[in-house]
Amino acid sequence: MPVSFHLKRQPEVPLEAEVLSPDRICQLSNEEIRSLTVYHGKRQLPLGEFFDVEGERSNELEIHGNLAKVRWIGRAMSQGSVTVHGGVGMHLGAYMSGGQIEIHGDASDWIGAEMKNGLIRVHGNAGGQIGAAYRGARAGMKNGTIIVDGSAGLEVGMRMRRGTIVLGGPARDFTGLQMLGGTIVLLAGAEIRTGAWMKRGTIISLKPLTMMPTFTPATDYSPTFVNLYSKHLSLFGVQLPYAAADGRYRRYAGDSSVPGKGEILVWQPNV
């Protein structure tokens, strides 16, 4: 039986609720859960002030309501699941190391920032800095998977080291900025400066991209790993084309300003 939360009081200022994480909830009684501290701006208030809570002692959380002002849900979680019916605020699943998060709604910035492992799935749109490094940190997400069905903002995957980010909708500028490794899949392309200053890693785009001047087109080919990757992603309902009959990938190498050994693969369908 999952623990379920219904938002009953809309916060007027950001509500920092890192306690909405399976690791924090799983051992607690209903009463203990309701008395966990959340920060409404600077005010320390019990979770029960904002949420009706049903159930106890479970590492499955179900949250209902418009949580756009609720930040840090699933922070550093290592197990279990969080399902949200509604939108969520910033830092969803930041630093998480395991478990799954599923959002039936929109999410905000810094989803899965510096995460170590686990799965985040957003069915709506998301903000910027997905799987990114916080200011000054050397690396963003170290592993795990983030899938956003809708669009995304700036600096997606900034300095990510490993793991996968899949975007169903378009991304804005600086996707894969200073990327160190891992894979970003863009099903609907991105605006400008994709892969800027990337050192290593792979960006796959199914739509044409405006390339940085410091990327050089190498070859058109059908790499086998896309085939394997597509099979892996099909678990999440994501399809990548790879059949030679349908088209080929143009491989760009860069960013030569670093100089880096990253690659951007842009799908060229046969006409």
Partner: protein, 321 residues
Amino acid sequence: MGGKVSCTLGEVKQRADFIVYWGGNPAECHPRHFTKYTLMQKSKFLPRGRKDRTMVLVDIRETKSAKASDIFLQVRPGKDFELITILRALIKDQNVSDEAIADTGLTREVLDDLVQRMKSAKFGCMFFGMGLSMTRGKHMNSAALLTLAAEMNAFTKFVAMPMRGHGNVTGADVMMRWQTGYPFGITFNRGYPRYNPGEFSTVDVLVRGDCDAAFIIGADPGGTMPQPAIDHLKRIPTIVLDPHVTHTSKLARVHITTAPQGIAAPGTAYRMDEVPLPLKPPLKSPYPTDEYVVRRINEAIMAKPFWLPDGSQPQMLTAQV
């Protein structure tokens, strides 16, 4: 990971034989920059002054500063980041295609010449203005130029610094760093400083409607910020301290008139290169100083109950993750 390589303006005055202004218009915005710090000064290392220096201006249009320059490079609007990134590649002898260069509005010949001049300079200095830091790409544009300057040190001495406007904005930056560890975009809501530009930076906070009161001092967001931000300032109790009744004062609950700094208020201000200077106010204002008023407000708040419960602990440290 790049870095920030800088110097005080006297170093530029004494040594810089190669000066770049990028996205700034000192002739009109920092009128004495050329004469006092950069171009016109003679020194023991550059005895012929202006003749011993080369100045390059990079901007999207030919401003008045172009007249002062030896080389004016007109970059296509929104292509600064691309151009700087190309330069980073070229100084490392990496290949960049002619089309890619042309897309920035410049030619290979021009960039080859620029790179050659940069590398053969004895002391290069790059200043960047709001034309770089406030256009698409924002802090990444500044980061790009700072990184280029850092990387140039593999070949010769090179530094970069922002052309900061607005009086003592540098002082605020410096002071916040020593008191909180961070230069701006800070929250204390957990009882200790935390930092996240984009989350705690004012424009974002106001546009999202995240704060429920605002204290504005030495700035006029009511005249400069986007409309949704101004609308939020109208919705919440706003308090303004300023020598003038400003746009923001007009939408505020409370306005307090204060003495202007350096004219009637004493104290310290920091130059763009982080050198502190004393203020020598000649006039006696009928209004109190900012310092006095904010201290009074602090004292009035000190008399009220403290908000943080005893025994509160830091909870958001990444060491705990």
